[in-house]
């Protein structure tokens, strides 16, 4: 396989994981968080600092960062759980912007605007992950394990409760379910796996910059979920594949790919709010009905 495609697929895998984790909140709990980038970005920063600044093995750094993401999500989530809808989106955004300011201004630690460069791919346990192909295999392994865990969570009773909360939080509350605790659980799950994606991303890019933590970057996993279909577990994965390819394709002939992406997003919301998976499944259903 040409190296270019190895890179592209590695990127798709990481972006998919980030989007699927964000979609646990968006599509399965009905919470719009504009702050997922806080977990992705801070984990990317933390893993870079640990790799470059300490002699810890990569695996240890990796798990420390994932644990840190979970803890951050728990603490921030405790605050954010008091709010709904738009206000929830804004408070998550405000928290993530504080992370951004720290990364941007604490230059002695984070390198400020320049970020941290030259993050090496140290071996993970006994696994050599140096080089594009080796790193791709590592990412594939981690993403598959993470996706399997996320899938099990969504299909578990916990996942069922989350979807009930999404569909009607009041009725769910009346059933005697502590909606707030379940929402918090969902926030922690999303933050933790967002952190996994971030920890994978830093050595992949070899560089982390404050831009990673900027709020506008938070919209990416949301757009991807919407594109693929946020009510489907695999929706964001389909979205990520299409997103990365479209980006690659459009940047081939114009640097103004964001315009076209914006237009696509706008048309999607206007005409196809269920995303691509939603469209396909509706047509499959219709086809079945017709054949009866």
């Amino acid at each position: 396989m040409p190296t270019f495609y190895v890179y592209l697929i590695t990127e798709i895998l990481i972006v998919s994981l980030f989007a699927v984790s964000t979609n646990v909140l968006l599509g399965f709990t009905g919470l719009l968080s504009f702050g997922q980038v806080a977990f992705f970005g801070s984990s990317a920063y933390a893993v870079s600092l640990l790799i470059k600044g300490t002699s810890l093995p990569f695996a240890a750094s990796f798990f420390i960062c994932v644990g840190m993401s979970a803890l951050c999500a728990l603490i921030i989530g405790l605050f954010c759980m008091r709010l709904r809808g738009f206000y929830f989106a804004i408070i998550t955004l405000a928290f993530s912007q504080i992370f951004f300011v720290v990364a941007y201004k604490w230059s002695s630690l984070t390198g400020g605007d320049d970020g941290i460069v030259g993050i090496p791919k140290k071996p993970f346990l006994a696994m050599n992950i140096d080089g594009p192909e080796a790193y791709y295999h590592f990412v594939l392994l981690v993403v598959l394990v993470s996706m399997a865990l996320l899938y099990l969570i969504i299909r578990s009773p916990l996942g069922e409760v989350l979807q009930a909360i999404r569909d009607n939080s009041e009725r769910t509350e009346f059933l005697g379910i502590q909606v707030r605790n379940y929402r918090l659980a969902s926030f922690v799950i999303a933050g933790t796996f967002g952190g996994v994606a971030g920890a994978l991303f830093a050595p992949f890019q070899g560089i982390v910059t404050p831009e990673l933590l900027h709020w506008s970057h938070s919209a990416e996993p949301l757009m991807i979920s919407l594109l693929g279909g946020m009510y489907f577990f695999f929706g964001p994965i389909a979205g990520a594949i299409i997103f990365v390819f479209i980006k690659e394709w459009i940047t081939g002939f114009t640097e103004y790919w964001m315009f076209w992406y914006g237009l696509l997003l706008m048309l999607l919301i206007m005409y196809l709010p269920g995303g691509i998976m939603g469209f396909v499944s509706e047509h499959l259903k219709r086809g079945k009905d017709d054949s009866k």
């Binding site: 719009l32 201004k105 315009f259 706008m266 919301i269 206007m270």
Partner: protein, 290 residues
């Protein structure tokens, strides 16, 4: 800190506050009535600055005031298009989809601006009439233009207050903010009212953009930088409350200005901390009228 320096910073902060109010007033009215959290409001502000720059550049001898009028009209038209085609489709949808939709506007407006205007920082000269400074006690030089901005803010605040509380249209807007269905039942053409209000909001953003041109560099990032502060103002003030937006603008403008004096490194975070504190203690905002 010397007293004269304190006063100087206070006035500088006030001019920043009034600029923020000009942008935030439009957003709070839109959000209050249409219930659309328009993320692209900052981009309309940015467009106001770019249009002003291009009108001044392409029409030699054009007075600054007229350039603002032209650019405000241009931004108003863009606002009308945004409301009429895509936004109309999503009034009944969730805030999540509305936020993402207006986010798509940011992507399109920003990239289109980059395409037509490039990524260089542009600058608009201070109009000749207001080029200069007055000396405050303690030998502090206060740019006349900053004082002009303060006056603009106060005048617009007054006019909006008059318009909102003393005219029929204003009363309709207020009524709509409180209860849309009732307004519609009374035979008011609500969709048309929505379009009007969105255009009004866009115009206010565009005007703020044009006025900010001589103060800071005109660049594509300016909309994205300001929008979070503007949302902060609208939330702290209480969605839909003009008075709230005014007071919150002063609060956040001064907080930022003095923050930069005392804690230059982390002043940026103050706005976010304030938003978090307000959301956690008074999620309806400090001055929600309802």
């Amino acid at each position: 800190m010397e007293f004269s320096y304190f006063i100087y910073q206070l006035i500088i902060g006030l001019s920043y506050s009034m600029l923020l109010f000009l942008i935030a007033s439009g957003l709070t009215i839109i959000f209050g009535l249409l219930n659309i959290p328009n993320f692209a409001h900052g981009s309309l502000y940015m467009l106001g600055a770019y249009f002003t720059y291009y009108f001044l550049k392409s029409i030699p001898g054009l007075p600054f005031g007229l350039a603002i009028v032209f650019s405000v009209m241009a931004v108003g038209i863009i606002g009308a298009v945004l409301e009429f085609i895509p936004l109309r489709k999503i009034y009944e949808r969730t805030h999540a989809l509305q936020l993402l939709m207006t986010f798509s506007f940011i992507l399109m407006i920003d990239d289109a601006t980059k395409y037509f205007a490039g990524t260089d920082f542009l600058s608009i000269a201070i109009p000749k009439l207001m080029d200069g400074a007055i000396t405050l006690p303690g030998d502090r030089e206060m740019p006349i233009y900053s004082i002009f901005i303060i006056l603009c803010g106060l005048v617009v605040a007054y006019l909006l207050w008059l318009g909102l509380y003393k005219t029929r249209l204003g009363k309709l807007i207020q009524a709509g903010t409180a209860n849309k269905e009732m307004l519609s039942a009374l035979g008011i053409n609500v969709p048309r009212l929505f379009t009007l209000v969105f255009i009004l909001g866009a115009i206010l953003a565009g005007m703020a953009g044009g006025l900010s041109g001589p103060l800071k560099a005109v660049s594509v990032g300016m909309g994205e930088t300001v929008i979070i502060t503007i949302f902060a103002i609208v939330i702290v003030g209480g969605v839909g409350s003009l008075k709230g937006a005014f007071i919150a603008s002063i609060l956040i403008g001064e907080l930022n200005t003095f923050g930069v004096v005392f804690f230059p490194d982390f002043a940026m975070a103050f706005t976010y901390i304030l938003v978090i504190v307000v959301l956690l203690t008074k999620p309806e905002g400090l001055f929600r009228s309802r």
